[in-house]
Symmetry: D5
Subunit: 126 residues, 10 copies
């Protein structure tokens, strides 16, 4: 089961010098199709701007959190909004995006994008 | 014949956390040229934002719907606007795009793009 | 000589559902350099939005029209604006772009872009 | 020495039909590092919109002009602004961009961009 | 230790002709993970517009400065904001961006972006 | 049904000057899965050396022959050996290869290779 | 646990016309590291020539067999030789290769190749 | 009409130091389909080893010779063997290959390879 | 200093089923130039066949061994032959190859290849 | 003028452990066309096996030697055989290859390959 207790944070670097945008791309995400039980494979892109005085998610803890979906039967759309919701709750960032990019099923590849907050125009539509 | 009875929907994930954009890319679309009867081959990209409290098209049903064009004599432009119209009627999404990308005929590749609703600027021109 | 009598049109699909953008890319364009008589090779991209109740250029007739430049001595810039002017006169579209992309001469590749009408920002600079 | 007498122009095509944007990319530019005397290699992209009733630079003369930097000791930044200034003076275009893209030195690749006039947003940041 | 005394500047070319944007991409950056002591590898992109009458960082001095991180235990985020702060202090540019792109750790690639000043929209989100 | 009556030949060019090897690659092959009825998509590569004084398959007739598999329920392996057998019977070439390359099913891509005659070592294992 | 009871076969096509070589590439293989318990991700390529009058592995059963490694703690080398041994026992092919290609761990990508029988020279070293 | 009088030669460099292999790749070849009159587009690769004390074809003359096919109605196979025969007669090389690679017609790309003399194994099958 | 005490081995899988070839590619190798002290960056490919009843190098220990070159002043050729000699002594494999691929210096990229034992022809020249 | 006095050597690593093959690829070679005086641009690949107890060419001296062709009017074939002869005389290697790869002139790219000694089959035809 997706396990948010695995997630850890650390203080974001002081943003006096201007905002920082952070992106982590995992090419090794797998969960199970809730209808057939077959594994789904995809990549997950997390992009966010930490809140002033806020926190960043620790990289290894993020990896372990993603691994906790391995035996979960869950739709593409729910993977995407669940990760979004968990990480927003964890970090309360200025804005955040989750993009999941799934290997083809029946000849159809899928990308799902979920956002939180005021994503600046230059990051939208990616 | 394009068969809309094949299409199924499921409730979109709650969008309290912010909007979701969904994209399905099929590289295995084929129909027939209405003039020559020869097969046309292309890819079809569907991109949309479900309406609040709305629905999503189910992936396998979408594949079967696309397959129902296999013996249809139909122009590129009509494929594109027909799929757009069918899926808009089915899902009544906030916005929706259909992009068809056809393999070359006579040395000319073609892309046709149809839209519905207020497509945000970051998704236009893709 | 560029022969506009080769060009044929058909009625654009009804645009009640929203606008349609059409793109045809020919990788097999050739004309002659008017100074040296040597052949030039390039690709021609046509992108346009049919006027409401307007027409579309028929694909095979477009190919024949492009072939009519084969023995023409004409500069890159003139190829581009000539095709633009001919197709605008033919279709009277809402907007239209012609982009020619020429193989290198003397180590220099060239791209020429001509437009007509109010090309939406997402299509400019392509 | 950069030799502007090599540059020739010809009248831009009439722009009644709408503006034209012209781009020439040379992958074969070389000059000398003014500090070490070692050769630098790069590409030069020229992009501009001729003024109404204005002129275009002739392609072969542009090639010869670029070749006149071959024995010149000159910094990346100066190459870029020098070419910009010379071509602006020559053509007095509506707007113009020069982008130089240099092969790595000490593991660092460099791109320098110089502009003149009101470059439309779709061409900026390229 | 990151050593700013290595950095040298030279006067920016006169910007009467219009602004200049400079980009240096180093694919050979390495530092140490402060938790495990293992080496991290990545690329660093510096992009900036010199202030009018301002200065540019000298390329070889930039390379030596980057090399001074080789034995430093430092997080991705801190590398990025440290380089930003040092170069802003050095050059006081109109605007500046630092983008670090790190090779995968535990199957996750990371990109960190820091900015200073009013970065024009065409450079944001790169 | 695969229809060999569609196939036409023409005399191979005289091979006094040395052997000729001919390759035709079709990226637009489709048949049906005999178990599920779903369409399969792939490419078919034909490579052969005409017999001395022999014949070549005519290109357009080959295209029509491939199209005759469109409604056929047939396994990958049988497509490959059937085409091999039909073309060997038609042309009696010195040697011949058929390579079919199928889009993924269930996350698995497949390539099937069938040969006839003494395929020279440089063409084997392709 | 790797479950060979999932594997099914069907008769190979008659090879009177000459040998057939079959290749199946799965990009969606995952198992667990036996030391750390962390998931490993890779692709598995199976290449073989069925014995005369022999059998082929059925594609869907192969997929299910691969999925049975999902919760198995097993080294790269053992995955490779285990699959080789299981499929050799199942099909008794003329020859067979297994190539596993693993995503990076600690900055190191790995490929393991195992063979059975007299693999022809054109297939070795792939 | 293919015009061999355009071809010029120059003495091959002395081969005391060991053999030389020369390759010229033209991406700008066009001729006409003898059945339909439509233009064909392709690339032509010439690879050869000059005979000891022999000659090389001059590059510009080769370009003009290729251009002389521009208005010729001729099949792919005949283009290939004609060029082979003409250049063998011209240069009498130790060995020679001609490979023509044609843009798709009806969804089928074609490559034709003709050889003369004892082409070493490392150059065959290219 | 290159530290062979970091290297660990484990027993190779039984090779009754036929030989196994193992390849590890590290894209994160760095050492120092012995003349200038500047860092060098490259990739190291290890490919080998374990001796019957022999051993394999453990992946994490290999990574630590490679890291021990980080502060070593050593030429490309010596890196390559040193790693070859150390790993041959450690594993006494049937055969072994080391290929180092170095990022450009002064515009020149370098690859160095060292071998041990009877490398089969299919692996040579890689 | 090509200046062999620039070339320096150092002793090859002891080859008790087996042969070493060295490759240096320069993407920044330029000379002049002896007919037109225009610059030619290409890459030069040097590949060789040092003789037992022999020498290697020093990398920086090789770069300076290549730079000495900058103002030389010389044909592609002569560049290739001249470099071959100079480096063979300098190093007396077991075998050596020079491959020059030239940017297009008149739409034709050229590759010239010269060899010395018994080049093993795995390196021929590269």
């Amino acid at each position: 089961m997706p396990d948010t207790t695995l997630l850890e944070v650390f203080p974001a670097p002081a943003c006096d010098g201007g905002p920082i945008v952070i992106e982590h791309v995992s090419d090794e995400f797998t969960s199970l199709c809730p209808k057939t039980g077959h594994p789904d494979f995809g990549s997950v892109t997390l992009r966010y701007q930490p809140a002033p005085g806020g926190v960043c998610v620790e990289l290894k803890s993020l990896k372990l959190y993603y691994q906790s979906f391995r035996s979960e039967g869950i739709f593409y759309e729910a993977v995407t909004s669940t990760i979004r919701d968990h990480l927003v709750e964890l970090m309360k960032p200025t804005w955040l995006q989750i993009i999941t990019d799934w290997k083809g099923r029946g000849g159809i590849r899928s990308l799902i994008r979920a956002e939180h907050g005021e994503v600046p125009p230059e990051w939208r539509g990616r």
